[in-house]
Symmetry: C2
């Protein structure tokens, strides 16, 4: 099934609850804005592109529930819903990107009836999903051009089908390569504190028959030093105009290690992840999450005394100088990124 979909009656959004993987594959249906917000905040749905698709479907469902014939009232209500959903996670740009795109559609359709606009919103949300499938496929093709049969790739967090629509971004070339009979080996960082690498990446690759080895985040340096890694592929939540890239906490460590060991590091994501309004990574807001995610979540017992403070940033920013290339559906952009990324939008 699809990772993010509308119900058959289009009255809710259906997702695989990713917090329960890999031990349980359960789908849940979300029909209220509070449920939708909670699902994003608690990472039941996650991955920048998947959050974008989810936000679009969610806003359509909320629009369909809105009872008014007045297009201005309709727009005003939808804007409130969008603003509310947008507070669920601050770092991934795809959330605000998808919500803005849906709101813009209403703004440019104010000469139409509310019912007509609801239909347009439905089509737009499906279009956002379909575009993502096409983008992931294109990203996968471009990414695959960077590696060869027998290569071994290190990845961090999860940027596979669960994080997108199909194929994924960072995992896309690996799944596409496997489909074509290539023999690829993947090392997956477990990605503390929420273990997306263990729970989702190793799960997706293992299910797809890809040779995957799980390591703790602090073991990446060793597999690099052992000469086992040909390239690092990571996803992205927001890319600034200069190429600085916000992605899951730990990505910048992988990038610094890769630089030290002379291994190329590629960031893979759709152009919708590029935010030219952010000049550099300093402009990207980094989400700080609950300290208990470090100390007690997943664990049978607390791992540190109750009073011990934790610092729990959800993302970090990787300096553009550490990035060998940024792979989007339009191709591979390289340094200087200020020029190469701007060119993607011309």
């Amino acid at each position: 099934m699809d990772n993010v979909a509308l119900t058959q009656k289009r009255d809710g959004v259906v997702i695989i609850d990713q917090t329960l993987l890999p031990t349980e594959e359960r789908t849940i249906t979300l029909a209220t804005k509070e449920e939708m917000h909670e699902a994003i905040y608690h990472l039941r749905v996650r991955g920048a592109p998947a959050i974008g698709i989810f936000a679009a479907f969610s806003l359509y469902v909320l629009a369909d529930q809105t009872v008014t014939d007045d297009i201005d009232v309709f727009l005003s209500i939808l804007k409130k819903h969008a603003d509310y959903l947008n507070t669920s996670r601050p770092t991934a740009v795809n959330l605000s990107w998808a919500l803005s795109r849906m709101i813009s559609l209403v703004e440019t359709s104010k000469h139409r009836s509310v019912e007509e606009v609801k239909q347009l919103l439905y089509k737009e949300s499906v279009e956002i999903r379909n575009e993502d499938i096409a983008m992931c496929k294109a990203i996968s093709e471009h990414g695959l051009s960077l590696i060869k049969d027998g290569d071994s790739i290190l990845t961090h967090c999860n940027a596979g089908p669960l994080a997108t629509s199909k194929y994924g971004t960072a995992l896309g070339p690996l799944l596409l390569g496997a489909e074509r009979g290539m023999s690829l080996k993947v090392f997956a960082d477990e990605t503390r504190p929420l273990l997306q690498g263990a729970r989702l990446t190793s799960y997706e690759l293992y299910k797809a028959g890809v040779d995957v080895t799980l390591i703790c985040d602090n073991m990446a340096a060793v597999v690099m030093k052992n000469g086992w890694i040909n390239a690092c592929f990571v996803g992205c939540d927001r890319i600034a105009a200069n190429g600085d890239t916000a992605n899951k906490i730990g990505t910048s460590t992988v990038a610094i290690l890769a630089k030290y060991y002379g291994i190329p590091l590629y960031v893979l994501g759709p152009t919708s992840t590029i935010d030219l309004n952010c000049k550099t990574g300093d402009d990207i807001e980094i989400e700080l999450r609950d300290q208990q995610e470090i100390k007690s979540k997943f664990f049978e017992k607390p791992t540190a005394p109750e009073g011990v403070k934790c610092y729990n940033p959800a993302f970090d920013v990787t300096d553009h100088a550490l990035i060998t290339g940024i792979v989007t559906e339009k191709g591979i952009s390289r340094y200087p990124y200020t020029e190469s990324l701007a060119a993607l939008f011309e």
Copy 2:
């Protein structure tokens, strides 16, 4: 109480079972060689210096249990016990160092009676413990000379009192500084997969009233980038003649990050950790541990599908070029280490 001690009747070794911390403080008594081996392998006692003290006490207890009047038979039995205990963990040099020291004593005392030698072995094991206390104090003083009031230190794994006798090595300067009223801040890496940083370091520092913040291993780059870290202090399990240092997995990552961000990194440990027989880090055997430590230990549910492979090295080697200084009880050694470390033994 002491972290590693003999029972009052000297018929067993008493340790705090470190696998139960921080939720439970329980002491256990070990009287057979199988129990002693298991305690080291399963990290009930851990930390290179503490393992050395534990091995010395253990060999004394086993010697005392040995019923023979023939000194050659006695030596032969003790050698077998020592060889057996020595297989419990391959990387920390202090284990073989302490066992060799005890065996050498028997070899040079063959003109004495077995009962006399048993008494000598008792004194030697207590001496190894007492020397460690003095060494940790000296290391702490030297380490403290490298930092000033208000500084913030990042540490990895646990090299505190629990890993030694008193004060510790990497944590020694911080605990000594705190005793003297200095205001120091510590960031502790949780240290996957066995979480010694969370369970032991944050526990020891918190109990001692030191301002400690726990982070996941993959967050060290962010606190460094934020400008929050003045120096990194780490322990060591074996130091090669050229300064290459084996320490808990993840240490080399901290060192590469510190180099990248221009932060000094100091290795702290007694000279007994220096193994001049190892020319470089390539000569140090790295222990590979059970894959389940990554996937299921501590966790309420498995974190990855049953079939997923894991790679679980317990240590890594930090290149000497990444080490600002090696702090022993004799002072601070700096590059070129081949000369400065050799000078410690002249």
